[in-house]
Symmetry: C2
Subunit: 326 residues, 2 copies
């Protein structure tokens, strides 16, 4: 039985809480959020369920006991690093949906070293995870290469019809913007999924391939006709979503390409991994794995494995083979 | 760099050797076989490659140094257990394709306890693996449940068109037998894939579900027309392969079903895992993973993880997340 404290109780934090409540392996021991609207509220009520007798507090310092803190506040280490420091110095391990934490060993080396040091000094573990990054385009890709004798090229894709997903996601992928608005926001770094280059470097390191070159491109998907979702009206010729590609070449010319296409009106949602090698592999998950539910289940199901690891900053590659937790 | 010794150099042992030779992480340190035709021969020559300067010997006692012994002699613990004992008492860890070793904790409890004891006494590790059992119908199934919030039912299938596979496999699945011959051999326990119930119990234990009931059925696949392979002629109404099902029900009524269909003339080869739950999952590997190559790659790619585990008998669930090894 692991005692969980939730740090950040927005949409994703609440999804993870819902998953945790279905499991007998976890006890909800606390909640922390800075949002004044929910401080003092019961965590059960927050998700429309029965009271849990556990209220949201405004600081991790008010938490007395936890095995692991489930953290979900931001995609960026510049925001989350001080939070991780505070949590670990309070003596708690961390699992976080922070995208940049998933695999910080290439793009945030200094922060990774710092987090590893703080974790070890406090005898705790820290891991970034989720469905993407954290599972479909990295951990699963890495795992499926177990059947590979040789590999020439890997292509992993996640295609998502955003039309039935929440408004926040539809806006995040640029749906309903004009092409000019998309380009401006893109230039300001305000569009695009965080974590795709992290997934790419994770796979390179799994395979033991040295990276020669990495590209990360983001393009709008233009509406061929008018679309209408529950939340948005998308005019023909405007943007209905994003098409992002992270591509890397190894020093000996091997390629890994990750494609993330999220758009309103996509004909099909799926996750697909293709390996050109010995043997060729073509793995497809029809319908894909639902993002919010997937993140919540992955976070919860990684926790027992994380608790078995020595103190430090980890990646999902260190986990004993994860699986469903009761 | 891990020093490998091959114990058993039949078809599968040689396939694993071929995979190992492509990798820089391994050094071929020896070979052991009882077949007088190959004792004294160079391991490289055995697989039609350049000499390795390592000859086959007739006993593990003649091996001086190894990190892990790659064992492939038989599917049955009653044959392999004394071999494992000898290898581990010589101070070497073991990875084996022995199907009953993959997950002996239900059907061979006493043997499992004995192997665990011998391993610990000698400070070595032992693991059973392969593509099936060992990957597609168990380890991958278990891993993919990481995205599951709740699970009602799991169906995992491996369909294989045996027509392009080696003669040994075509005969193993009963191709060209009459229905009566199939039934007689089945009654004598001389047909059917070994390891399917092992895969089933592995998944139950991963999920933490208590088993109420297990069935394991084996039926012939009857030829609707004449077939001809490179090796066999199969008359209409005779047997072209086998259809095996292992099914388990948990104490609270949840179901896991594994289907292994291997027959000459199957329209499609594939591996597929379907989960009915939250969320539903439908994962398919088009073409399936080639059995002999797959077993060789899985064995080789599990070795670095096995070397990180403490002494004892392990299952693939204990491994740090496996992946391609250079």
């Amino acid at each position: 039985m692991y005692k969980l404290v939730f740090f950040g109780l927005g949409t994703i934090g609440r999804e993870i809480l819902k998953t945790a409540l279905l499991k007998r392996s976890f006890k909800i021991a606390g909640g922390v959020d800075v949002n004044p609207d929910i401080i003092g509220k019961d965590l059960g009520e927050l998700i429309g369920e029965e009271k849990l007798g556990v209220n949201v507090v405004d600081s991790i310092k008010k938490i007395e006991e936890a095995d692991v803190v489930v953290h979900s506040t931001s995609s960026f280490l510049k925001i989350t690093l001080p939070q991780f420091k505070e949590i670990m110095e309070a003596g708690f391990s961390v699992i976080s949906t922070c995208e940049e934490l998933f695999y910080p060993f290439h793009f945030h080396k200094k922060e990774a070293e710092m987090l590893d040091k703080i974790a070890k000094e406090n005898g705790v573990s820290i891991l970034g995870a989720g469905i993407n990054p954290g599972f479909v385009l990295d951990t699963l890709v890495s795992f499926i290469t177990t059947v590979s004798r040789d590999i020439e090229k890997i292509t992993a894709e996640r295609y998502l019809d955003a039309s039935k997903r929440r408004k926040q996601l539809q806006l995040k992928v640029g749906a309903s913007l004009s092409k000019e608005e998309f380009d401006t926001l893109k230039k300001d770094g305000k569009l695009g999924h965080i974590g795709l280059p992290e997934s790419l470097t994770y796979i390179f390191d799994s395979l033991g391939w040295k990276i020669k070159d990495i590209e990360n491109s983001l393009e709008p998907v233009i509406a061929e006709e008018d679309f209408e979702t529950e939340y948005l009206k998308i005019k023909k010729e405007s943007v209905r979503g994003q098409h992002q590609v992270a591509k890397g070449i190894s020093e000996d010319g091997r390629e890994i390409k990750l494609i993330l296409r999220m758009a309103v009106g996509e004909k099909e949602s799926f996750d697909r991994i293709r390996i050109k090698g010995i043997p060729d592999i073509d793995l497809k998950i029809d319908g894909g794995v639902h993002g919010d539910i997937g993140t919540s289940t992955v976070i919860i199901n990684y926790i027992p494995g994380l608790m078995k690891l020595p103190p430090g900053l980890h990646s999902t590659r260190d986990l004993p083979l994860p699986h469903f937790t009761m």
